[in-house]
């Protein structure tokens, strides 16, 4: 058997036989889907604690209405008609006379009531709320609570008050509310994909409605999968090589194999591990989506690109990590170098959202054509529902291919020079010299 393959076999067996591999294999989908599952499980869980709300109504026209609506709600909307169980919290509105002399002092006192758990929130309604002048504080409404952004009560209060304001404005114009019902009927602009022609039947297929799953989750999941495979297979090479060097295993192996065979055996071993995990995930993902009836969201055309990019990415990053690992003498050295070495795979994670939002923009195009970022960012762009010009993935792939060849070459030279070098960690200048001299 080829010597590189012997090392690949050992590396593969050493990786997949461990408990850590099995645990990671199981934990990764949990990490990816865990938050979604938690959200799904908790979305119907409502905080049923009754809530007291102080209202400082400077307009003098909305407070009572809010109080009445809260009482009505408490009478008819709190209980589930079938089970008889409480399904929503009661709201108790207490009107507070505005302090015209020291409003800020009053707001501080009301805040203290919230802090001492006497009330849940307080609302300030500006006096010009019916005829607002943009930007002025008197034309606005404020909801004060400890977690106002995520507070569902705020949404209910906002809706009730706006509804009443609209009603009052219509009444001022002398129009019957029924006459203007359509005036306030808001129509959503529904996002759709493009019309396609079925390549097999020739039938025109109706466009599918754009969804979060297809637009954001599919590209994000693919990129996350790529990120995790690199983290699982290429990044550990840094510490693995460092250990083999510090435990003097490397020189024993160099009695049987060349440094290039040694390095490539380790990198390809990592690649084989990645192919196993991604193969399991992708097949599992496809079967799950089919089972859920969401097969149309699977970006089948991107999957071959995924594997091509993954192959090159692991070779590219793996050779770099192995080379850097060979420069380290102990785990301290490895820790110091690990974060900067991971930047090529971390940076894409930071810029992924703007790229998903505008996959055809200049920023997305430029970033995805930088070779270390191409495997993750070009993949994200291709997995979105827009059509990327074909030359871009091809150019990206060629760039990554060239960069990978360079990485293997440079990694090999550094690895060969440093793997038996003990003592002080080589400085950058020496590495450059080794790179140029070989």
């Amino acid at each position: 058997m080829n010597k590189t393959l012997v090392i690949v076999k050992r590396e593969y067996k050493a990786a997949v036989r461990t408990k850590g591999f099995l645990i990671t294999l199981l934990l990764l989908p949990v990490m990816m889907g865990g938050s979604l599952i938690v959200m799904a499980l908790t979305q119907d869980k409502v905080d049923l604690t009754d809530k007291r709300i102080d209202v400082v109504d400077q307009s003098g026209i909305l407070g009572h209405h809010l109080q009445q609506r809260a009482e009505l709600r408490n009478q008819v909307e709190l209980m589930d008609s079938l089970s008889g169980e409480k399904k929503a919290p009661a709201y108790y509105i207490e009107l507070v006379e505005p302090d015209t002399v020291d409003l800020n002092g009053q707001k501080l006192r009301l805040s203290d009531r919230i802090r001492s758990k006497d009330t849940h929130a307080f609302i300030q309604i500006g006096k010009d709320i019916l005829h607002p002048r943009p930007g002025e504080e008197n034309s606005r409404m404020f909801y004060y609570s400890e977690n106002s952004l995520m507070d569902e009560t705020r949404n209910w209060v906002g809706y009730i008050l706006n509804e009443k304001i609209r009603e009052l404005r219509v009444a001022e114009l002398g129009i019957e509310p029924d006459q203007v019902r359509d005036l306030f009927y808001w129509i959503d602009m529904e996002g759709m994909g493009l019309i396609r022609k079925d390549v097999r039947t020739g039938d025109i297929q109706d466009a599918t409605k754009s969804s979060v799953l297809g637009t954001i989750l599919a590209p994000y999941i693919l990129m996350f999968l790529m990120f995790m495979t690199v983290i699982m297979s290429a990044v550990p090479l840094l510490s693995a090589v460092m250990e083999e060097k510090s435990e003097r295993i490397a020189e024993v192996l160099l009695g049987s194999v060349t440094p290039n065979q040694f390095m490539m055996g380790k990198v390809i071993g990592g690649l084989a591990v990645s192919l196993t995990t991604t193969g399991i995930y992708i097949i599992g993902g496809i079967l799950t989506m089919k089972y859920l009836g969401k097969e149309s969201f699977i970006p089948y055309s991107v999957i071959p690109w995924f594997f091509a990019y993954m192959l090159l990415n692991i070779l590219m990053v793996g050779c770099g990590m192995a080379a850097l690992g060979s420069t380290c003498n102990d785990s301290k050295d490895a820790q110091a170098i690990q974060f900067p070495a991971m930047l090529p795979i971390i940076i894409p994670m930071f810029v992924v959202m703007p790229i998903i939002q505008n996959p055809l923009g200049g920023f997305a195009t430029a970033m995805s054509l930088i070779p270390p970022f191409t495997p993750m960012l070009m993949l994200v762009r291709q997995a979105t529902q827009v059509t990327i010009p074909l030359w871009q993935p091809i150019a990206g792939l060629v760039g990554v291919l060239i960069f990978t060849v360079l990485s293997v070459w440079a990694g090999g030279r550094i690895f060969r020079s440093c793997i038996i070098m003990h003592g002080k960690r080589p400085k950058f200048g020496l590495l450059v010299r080794q790179l140029l001299k070989g």
Binding site: R248, G255, S256
Partner: protein
């Protein structure tokens, strides 16, 4: 005997330190060649250059009459000075892995054979981390010679081994030589080098200072050493003229003479002081020669 390894005028420098300087050496096929020298003298660097792990800055290394290439690794078994093993692998699996790397036809069978020979069979299914240091060293030796290579290079093969295991490894090395292998080993144990080596090469501060058979090396130094045993011990040698250095071993004193000193004059001077139980002329031992080269400034333990 034709040369299997030829090193010609090889120099290797690390930054400003010259590790090996203009070294030339010819290792005959089928011989046992001992590399000796103090720590940091350039032995390991020379071995690593033979192994193609390091490249010489200048000079050439030819193996089997050809320029050194990566593929020649197939014919060489190499045991580095500092060696490690994959600790999580099981013993048989590890030996088999190295056998596969060395393209052994039936690595499993060879693993079983060598484990049996070195009394390691009961540990075959144990992880390497469970082995003692001595066992690990035997395993390291096994993976070096599992393919019975034509050239065997051993950097300090006996360090840390007990006498029993030293003897077992020594027997295996001699057996492999008998089967046609050429053996190079470095050692600090001069007694082992004297007993086993056909040729001895000493490197000091990167330069070759000795190269040849033990007899030829000793001939260079001549019979300038007296082994002496007296009733007074080393006191008897105080003030005796013509002595360069005295190594006092307690019961016996080893006396190196100054050039052109007549040993009889030493005997006469000592007899004037005490009774002499033993007086013999001999060539210096390898250890004595080693110390003379490595510590030229040290004139006498006695002084």
């Amino acid at each position: 005997m034709s040369a299997i390894i030829e090193i010609s005028n090889v120099t290797k420098t690390f930054d400003s330190h010259v590790a090996v300087n203009g070294l030339s050496l010819s290792v005959p096929k089928g011989s046992i060649y001992g590399f000796i020298g103090p720590n940091g003298s350039g032995k390991t660097t020379t071995i690593r250059m033979i192994m193609n792990i390091l490249y010489p800055d200048s000079g050439t290394i030819r193996i089997f009459g050809q320029e050194r290439t990566g593929s020649m690794i197939e014919s060489i078994g190499y045991l580095p000075e500092e060696r490690g093993l994959y600790r999580k692998m099981k013993l048989r699996e590890l030996i088999q892995f190295h056998g596969e790397l060395k393209k052994v036809t039936n690595p499993g069978r060879e693993a079983d054979y060598w484990m049996e020979k070195f009394d390691l069979t009961p540990w075959a299914r144990k992880k390497v981390e469970a082995l003692s240091k001595g066992m690990s060293q035997k395993v390291q030796f096994i993976i070096t010679i599992i393919d019975r290579p034509e050239i065997i290079i051993l950097d300090e093969p006996f360090s840390g081994l007990d006498p029993v295991n030293t003897e077992i490894i020594r027997e295996v090395i001699l057996g492999l030589r008998k089967d046609g292998s050429t053996v190079i080993f470095s050692t600090h144990d001069m007694a082992v080098a004297e007993k086993m080596c056909d040729f001895i090469f000493m490197i000091y501060k990167g330069q070759k200072v000795l190269d040849g058979t033990l007899r030829s090396i000793q001939d260079v130094y001549g019979q300038d050493t007296i082994r002496l045993q007296t009733e007074m011990g080393s006191e008897a040698l105080k003030g005796v003229a013509g002595i360069d250095k005295v190594n006092d071993f307690g019961q016996v004193q080893e006396v190196r003479l100054l050039p052109d000193t007549d040993p009889q004059s030493i005997l006469k001077q000592v007899l004037e002081k005490t009774r002499v139980d033993r007086f013999e002329m001999s060539a210096p031992t390898l250890e004595e020669i080693f110390i003379r080269i490595a510590r030229p400034d040290k004139t006498s333990d006695y002084e």
